[in-house]
Amino acid sequence: MRTGTFSEASVVKRIGETCVSAWLNKRPAMKIPDGLYRGLGWSFRPNNGSASHNLTSILAHPDGTVLLAMPGAMDAPTFLEQLDFALALRDRMYEGGVRRKDAEEIRAAAHLKAAESVRDRVRSAAYRRMAKQPFTISTFPLDLFEDLQKVYSGN
């Protein structure tokens, strides 16, 4: 992600326009040998859903509410699709910057609907998990998706 998707101009531009970004290395001591991914053909683009135990993209409102959390690698179109989901959800949950009373119902319903419409198994499971329970930046578990590791399937 950091050397592929986040180096694409369209992604950089869109993130800069809509987000303030930070990263967290949750296992800085973990060793990943050079060349590991070349054997899987990852030199051109990341395979969506891969490395879900290592990577999570979280998009949150500044009040701390997690709007979307998606595990694993994502190529640029998939990442931008997630960003659009989070922005649209924010606009439905907040009116004039104020959180609606039914914001949590809106959030859960949006994730459930997405879980039913997306074909990718990892993404669908992540949406479903997010529909069940609200998270904030401070309560988000670092290992929430670590059981969803996907074996490369080419999609």
Binding site: F6, T18, S21, A22, P28, M30, D34, N54, L55, L59
Partner: protein, 81 residues
Amino acid sequence: MRTLPLLAALALAAAAQERPRPLCTCKPREVGPSGSRVDWSGYRKGIDWHYSVDEATRLADYDKKLVFWFHLAGDLDKEGC
């Protein structure tokens, strides 16, 4: 004509009341056994990454943007995640 100076004064007063953009004062933070921060070669290239989510949250609140918090893992000197 007398309303023009009044409008100018009101505009100046409104500008003075605007909140200043928060300063980046947070120290780097990581979790994990090493406890030390390791930059990666793409840091500050392309995406404007901030060291902490707390800092990013304050700036997002000011800029009326979302917070994008990316969790990764591994030795960042390597090609990893």
